[in-house]
């Protein structure tokens, strides 16, 4: 039996997503079938479907610091400050040395590098003396987390966790671990992505035959649908205030959920293709660490990106793990908000956590032509369902064969 110092809870959530800039708006969109996908113009690509965020960049940041920093930093600052405010922590009264910032990222620096090279070729006549002196601080891998510490005056550790599209989960896991190691007393942890600012990610997915498209942008990515044609790239972020249960209790904090288990492993098999067996092992190990059975999981939030092979391999894995779990519901979020890359795992977990309070499991965006290989019992398709949820398992997988499963439980 763990004591309260060994239990980590979520006491604040800050987010921005293509469905809104707070948890209530995101949840409303997911429960009511709204799409956050739009068509937008991307340099060199023309019109593409994407998930864009519309938060006020200067709500928590000066105009000067926004201009000096990055979109990734702006997303990080916004989400972290919103998480802090939501947690109602007495920020002035706590030791800033004991706060850590751990943000998952798929990649960082591509946006700024593309912009500099664009200017170098188009307006600077290849004169590298006009290359910005801001380039290095903008593109160092710790930039998103570092901008948070500059903004909030946090003097504890900060860094990012590069974990492809599993990064949202891995950022949270890092926060949990640092709290359990007693390195910090408060962790701001999650994932962020500014990927829609770079043409390269769109061009690469297109070259791979994996860029989702449709005349109606809301249909551009259709996970688990036989008629899907790929991923929609999105931006976003979700940052959690994490504390030890003992500290949360002391200040009578609102507790969204307890993080009761996780696992991460590697496929060691391919740069991009998923590996069903490793995904099965990842989910199984995460469940084993909680001391629960698979049948105790009420909701499985799938990674499901809308690529044929990715969807099918994960469905095989989920079906294998939850075959004997009659009350486990399965959903996926990317049909609504696209693939928010480094933010995906953290945002998708956030979208599901309100199930502990509102008693629903949110659906997948309506799958009109379900891929027979993705047909699973209790797949929540198109309409929310009543669900007395106590345990949620959140999958997040990424390139180079990185898998993560995170399990949260309703705090009672």
């Amino acid at each position: 039996m763990k004591n309260d110092n060994q239990r980590i809870v979520i006491t604040g959530i800050g987010l921005t997503s293509p469905l809104g800039n707070n948890l209530a708006d995101l949840r409303d969109g997911l429960l009511n079938g709204k799409s956050g996908i739009v068509h937008t113009e991307i340099r060199h690509m023309g019109k593409v479907a994407a998930g864009l965020c519309q938060f006020d960049e200067t709500k928590h940041q000066s105009k000067k610091m926004r201009k000096r920093g990055t979109r990734a930093g702006a997303i990080s600052v916004y989400c972290t400050k919103e998480a802090l405010l939501d947690s109602k922590i007495d920020f002035d009264g706590i030791d800033k040395n004991r706060i850590g910032v751990y943000l998952g990222i798929t990649e960082h620096g591509n946006v700024e590098t593309e912009n500099e090279i664009h200017d170098l070729y188009t307006s600077h006549n290849m004169d590298v003396s006009l290359w910005s002196h801001h380039h290095n601080p903008r593109t160092v891998a710790n930039n998103p987390a570092g901008e948070v510490t500059l903004n909030l005056g946090i003097t504890g550790p900060h860094y990012t966790i590069g974990a492809a599209c599993a990064a949202g989960n891995l950022g949270i896991i890092q926060g949990v671990q640092q709290l359990l190691l007693d390195e910090v007393d408060l962790a701001f942890a999650g994932g962020i992505s500014e990927s829609t600012e770079t043409f390269g990610i769109f061009a690469a997915f297109k070259a791979q035959g994996a860029l989702g498209h449709h005349d109606d942008p809301s249909l551009a990515t259709r996970p688990l649908d036989l008629d899907r044609n790929g991923i929609v790239v999105s931006e976003g972020g979700a940052v959690y205030a994490l504390e030890r249960l003992s500290d949360a209790k002391k200040r009578n904090a609102k507790i969204y959920a307890e993080i009761i288990g996780y696992h991460s492993n590697s496929d060691a098999s391919d740069f991009v293709l998923p590996n069903t067996q490793r995904q099965i092992e990842c989910m199984t190990q995460a469940i084993k660490k909680t001391g629960l059975e698979a049948s105790d999981v009420d909701i499985v939030s799938m990674h499901a990106t809308g690529t044929t092979q990715g969807d099918i391999q994960e469905c095989l894995a989920v079906a294998a793990v939850f075959n004997d779990s009659p009350k486990t519901y399965i959903n996926a979020t990317k049909g609504f908000i696209g693939h928010a890359m480094g933010a995906a795992g953290a945002l998708e977990l956030a979208g599901n956590i309100p199930s502990f309070d509102d008693g629903y499991v949110h659906p997948c965006k309506k799958i009109e032509n379900l891929d027979p290989q993705c047909a699973m019992k209790n797949l929540v398709n198109g309409e929310k369902m009543l669900c007395d949820a106590n345990v949620i398992l959140n999958n997040s997988f990424g390139m180079l064969g990185i898998n993560s499963s995170l399990i949260v439980k309703k705090y009672k």
Partner: protein, 83 residues
């Protein structure tokens, strides 16, 4: 041939785009810019870069102190604008 007033206006345009949160319209020409505006060393590098980008004016590192006040900027930059 730019007048000193015109040079001042061009410098002020650059500063306004860097000190984005400050009102630059009432700054004193004699008092150090850093004492009136929220400017740090990175901002002065931005000023130097913008002079180069917009007006092709080079400011060597040893001359950075010449950008301390608006008056010293005008005194230093006017000949460069008019070269």
């Amino acid at each position: 041939m730019l007048t000193n007033t015109e040079v001042r206006s061009k410098v002020l345009d650059i500063i306004a785009d860097i000190a984005l949160d400050d009102d630059v319209t009432g700054i004193s020409d004699e008092i150090a810019l850093r004492e009136q505006l929220d400017l740090d060393s990175m901002d002065f590098l931005d000023i130097v870069m913008e002079l180069k980008k917009r007006h092709k004016i080079e400011v060597p590192q040893e001359d950075y102190p010449r950008l301390a006040t608006m008056q010293s900027c005008v005194d230093y930059l006017a000949p460069k604008f008019n070269q």
